[in-house]
């Protein structure tokens, strides 16, 4: 069961990820990206990481993608003048992405014996992805990085507001 679900979710994520890249309409790209995020959340649930699955849906599919959709509709993008790279650059991009994939797959194959030899059953804890365990780790061991994240958000808010403000003398700019 878990195996079938894994391959189904993998196929779904890869197919919708590819559709994000190839679809000409930016709104379709956003919708396919949301599908990718949902299948990745399915993967997180399979991996016993319920907290990350929930955060992934809320933050990515909920907040970030809505922001993307909002900006796309705000800028009123047309499909017919959707800019693409020239055809030789696209070919070069496919070749280089394929080469990177080849290198990564070869590295995985070369190191797979070392990677497979894990799963030490004596000390294995399958509950690490639950909110309780993760919260205890986050608020004891990683308390300072967590608080620094809030400063990062403050900086991001100030930056976004500063960049988005209307410049003096500029009227009716859209």
């Amino acid at each position: 069961m878990a195996e079938k679900l894994f391959y189904f979710l993998t196929f779904l994520a890869l197919a919708s990820g590819l559709m994000v890249v190839v679809s000409r309409n930016p709104v379709h790209s956003v919708l396919y990206l949301i599908l990718t995020f949902f299948s990745l959340s399915g993967h997180y649930i399979l991996l016993n990481a319920q907290f990350l699955a929930a955060v992934n849906i809320i933050v990515y599919a909920g907040a970030i993608m809505v922001l993307f959709l909002f900006v796309i509709m705000f800028l009123n993008m047309r499909t017919h003048n959707e800019p693409m790279a020239p055809i030789w650059a696209q070919l070069a991009a496919v070749v280089s992405a394929g080469l990177v994939l080849m290198v990564l797959v070869a590295a995985t194959k070369a190191s797979s014996p070392a990677l497979e030899a894990v799963a030490d059953t004596d000390s294995f804890d399958s509950q690490i992805g639950l909110v309780q365990t993760l919260g205890q780790t986050l608020f004891s061991q990683y308390l300072i990085p967590f608080e620094l994240t809030s400063i990062l958000f403050l900086v991001a808010i100030v930056g976004a507001v500063y960049l988005g403000r209307r410049e003096p003398g500029e009227r009716n700019s859209f």
């Binding site: 069961m1 878990a2 894994f6 890869l14 990820g17 590819l18 994000v20 890249v21 930016p26 790209s29 990206l33 990718t36 995020f37 990745l40 993967h43 991996l47 016993n48 990481a49 990350l52 955060v55 990515y60 970030i64 922001l67 993307f68 900006v71 800028l75 800019p83 693409m84 790279a85 650059a89 696209q90 280089s96 992405a97 990177v100 994939l101 990564l104 797959v105 995985t108 194959k109 497979e116 799963a119 059953t121 000390s123 294995f124 399958s126 690490i128 992805g129 993760l134 986050l138 061991q141 990085p145 994240t149 990062l152 958000f153 900086v155 991001a156 808010i157 976004a160 960049l163 500029e170």
Partner: protein, 109 residues
């Protein structure tokens, strides 16, 4: 000691590695062939998510909570990045009325 989860027993971690590599390469392909700044951002999100999935799978297979905490931080940073990045894109659109990144290469020379 607890039982191993079904995924850890049935799926070798190399499958997760291959899946995350493929997803990362799809995102890279998108960054290289698309010229719309918004789509480039989406492809960067795709790459970030593939790395997140890899971190989570290693955290589960080695039963180490630090990996999942790190994924949480990556998500927070990605949210901040998107907020600022989209503000920059809107500002660029206001000035040059397009989001084609080819027209933004003047800083290079």
């Amino acid at each position: 000691m607890q039982d191993l989860p079904e995924v850890v027993r049935l799926i070798p971690i190399t499958h997760y590695l291959l899946f995350a590599s493929a997803l990362f390469c799809i995102g890279m392909l998108g960054v290289l062939i698309r010229r719309n700044a918004l789509i480039l951002f989406m492809c960067i999100e795709l790459m970030l998510n593939s790395v997140n999935l890899l971190l989570t799978s290693f955290a589960t297979y080695r039963s180490d909570a630090a990996g999942q905490v790190f994924v949480f931080f990556i998500m927070a940073v990605a949210a901040a990045e998107v907020a600022v990045g989209l503000a920059i894109i809107v500002m660029i659109y206001r000035n040059i009325k397009t989001t084609n990144v080819n027209l933004l290469s003047r800083l290079k020379w």
